[in-house]
């Protein structure tokens, strides 16, 4: 059962401190959302969990520090879906999903049967079998998002960090992606997603971590975190928060004065 723990984590990019004194523990079977305004440090915190930026404090995956863990070992434990959909070469969908098996392969080795089976499972879970022969750079934004998610799922890591997986997706595709992430968490994975859409975050996440100017200012269930007071102090907006079923919906009314 995987867990990711942050102990007083700080991250500086150049001379600017982007994350300050962040502490939290994420456990398996949870879909956790990291929310906050633009430039709050959400993506930097996610990147720190993958040792992609240097940090102070301790970040542990299970009991091992990410800063000293071999990259391939960390990659086998935590899969990552980076922000954006940039692909530098026009690979086929199947070839792209295959990249997810890289942490399990030695240099110059071939894809084995176990890798092939993992690729097929990822393709099935993301429901992209019909796209497998297509060139990934020629897909629509929604199709490409599912394909990139399948690539991350093909790692078959116990934890997945997705950085803005809903960016530039229409509501239908947003629901598809969130359903998929939610399903992974229900199946026992730890899923951490950096999100901007607060209603989507509230609808699907078990837990939200609200960040403001690099500091975690609230951590709890969506109803605990998405309060009008928090939204006012962090986003600078007046918002109406209503319960729709079990989750809150957020309507921004305007800039708070």
């Amino acid at each position: 059962m995987v867990s990711i723990s942050l102990e007083q984590v700080g991250v500086s990019l150049g001379r600017r401190t982007v994350v300050r004194n962040a502490s939290a523990t994420f456990r398996a079977g949870t879909l956790a959302g990291i929310v906050g305004p633009n430039g709050a440090g959400k993506s930097t915190l996610a990147r720190a969990m993958l040792a992609l930026v240097p940090h102070i404090g301790r970040i542990l995956v299970d009991d091992a520090e990410v800063a000293t863990m071999p990259r391939a070992e960390l990659a086998r434990r935590v899969a990552y879906l980076p922000q954006g959909q940039t692909l530098h070469w026009p690979l086929t969908v199947e070839r792209l999903v295959e990249l997810g098996r890289l942490p399990h392969l030695a240099p110059m080795s071939r894809i084995g049967d176990a890798d092939g089976a993992a690729i097929e499972r990822a393709i099935a879970r993301a429901d992209i079998a019909a796209l497998r022969e297509r060139v990934a750079t020629e897909l629509s934004g929604g199709e490409r998002a599912r394909v990139l998610l399948a690539r991350a799922l093909a790692v078959e890591a116990p934890a997945l960090i997705a950085d803005e997986p809903l960016a530039s997706l229409d509501p239908g595709h947003q629901i598809d992606v969130m359903e998929l992430l939610h399903g992974e968490a229900r199946a026992g994975a730890l899923v951490i997603a950096v999100l901007h859409d607060l209603t989507m975050a509230a609808r699907y996440c078990d837990r939200l971590v609200l960040i403001d100017r690099g500091t975690i200012v609230a951590d709890g269930t969506p109803a605990e975190v998405l309060t009008p007071a928090n939204l006012k102090s962090v986003y600078g907006i007046d918002a109406r928060v209503e319960l729709a079923g079990d989750w809150p919906t957020v309507t921004a009314l305007g800039r708070s004065r």
Partner: protein, 330 residues
């Protein structure tokens, strides 16, 4: 038009064999097939044996080795820098190797022993690597590396120009110019023994990171999150390019465009992933350079046609085709 990998490799090997046979068959002196067979079986006359074993055979081997290295380095650099216009000169390696060789010619060191020029060329390439590392620092950005490479290439080219400018006499300048045009003429097995170990080491280093190059399709963060150690990948890639291309340029002179055009020629026949074009680019480079070297011998010109000139002309139609495709004219 993707074709199966075994078929592609087999086709390219067949092309390379044809080029290699052409390189043995054709030359300024016509040799009958019977004389050639006799020379290869140890029963030939002295002239035929000398021409075949001491001139055409090393020339063929160098054509194959140098072409393979340039093609492979171009493919690896295009993958690493995620830039289809990358080639060995983008890192300044081949320019620095040229400067080393030009220094050997300028100071008259090349006359001391045939190995001095290639050795200085390899040293030039290795020095450029040190300069590149110092300029690019720890940044993993391809742009930083390209900028550092352009700085090295510009400096090396300026050094070559200075040598030409200050050359002590017209003959020295002519010697430098002739070398810069690139050729495999009059090369011996000494050149083979210098180039091949460099090409073997460089080639292995470049082939090692095929999967890392594929992962870079997702960008630097994406690749690192898949377990790729970008720092080590970069060290292997730069070392492989410096040693391999340095060794190749050391014996052939400055031969451009092979590293640029061969990956473009083979990419449409593969699944377009960077790792899939490495080996085909090496074999294709061997075939193309050897064919170009045969063409140099067959095209009748008043002055000797240089290999670097032919490869430069080969680059033009390839890029015109790409331009037409980009503009959807073809």
């Amino acid at each position: 038009m993707t074709i199966s990998r075994p078929l592609l490799i087999a086709g390219l090997i067949a092309l390379t064999l044809a080029a290699a046979i052409g390189s043995i068959l054709f030359g300024p002196v016509h040799l009958s097939l019977a004389r050639m067979i006799a020379a290869f079986t140890g029963h030939g006359d002295r002239i035929a044996t000398t021409i075949l074993l001491e001139l055409r055979l090393p020339r063929m081997l160098l054509g194959l080795g140098v072409g393979a290295m340039l093609g492979l380095a171009g493919a690896a650099l295009q993958g690493y820098l995620r830039n289809p216009l990358a080639e060995p000169s983008v890192l300044g390696t081949s320019n620095a190797a040229s400067l080393g060789a030009v220094a050997a010619l300028y100071f008259g060191l090349a006359a001391l022993h045939p190995v001095v020029l290639p050795v200085l060329a390899v040293l030039g390439a290795l020095l450029s690597l040190a300069g590149l590392s110092a300029l690019a620092g720890r940044s993993e950005s391809p742009l930083t590396l390209i900028l550092a490479g352009i700085a090295i290439a510009t400096l090396a080219t300026a050094g070559v120009s200075l040598a030409l400018n200050l050359s002590p006499n017209p003959f020295a300048a002519m010697e430098i110019m002739t070398w810069l045009l690139g050729s495999l003429e009059n090369r011996s097995f000494e050149h083979v023994w210098i180039a091949y170990p460099c090409i073997a080491i460089g080639g292995l280093l470049l082939l090692w990171d095929g999967r890392a190059l594929d992962a870079l399709t997702l960008g630097e963060d994406g690749a690192q999150a898949l377990g790729v150690d970008l720092r080590r990948t970069r060290i292997r890639l730069l070392l492989g390019t410096a040693i391999g291309v340095g060794g190749a340029v050391a014996v052939s002179g400055a031969i451009g465009f092979i590293g640029l055009i061969v990956p473009h020629l083979v990419r449409p026949l593969t699944d377009r992933s960077p790792s899939a074009i490495l080996v085909p680019s090496a074999i294709g480079g061997a075939a193309l350079l050897t064919f170009a070297d045969v063409a140099v011998r067959l095209i009748d010109t008043r002055n000797e046609l240089k290999l670097g000139v032919v490869t430069a002309f080969l680059g033009v139609p390839v890029f015109l085709i790409h331009l037409m495709r980009e503009r959807r004219l073809w």
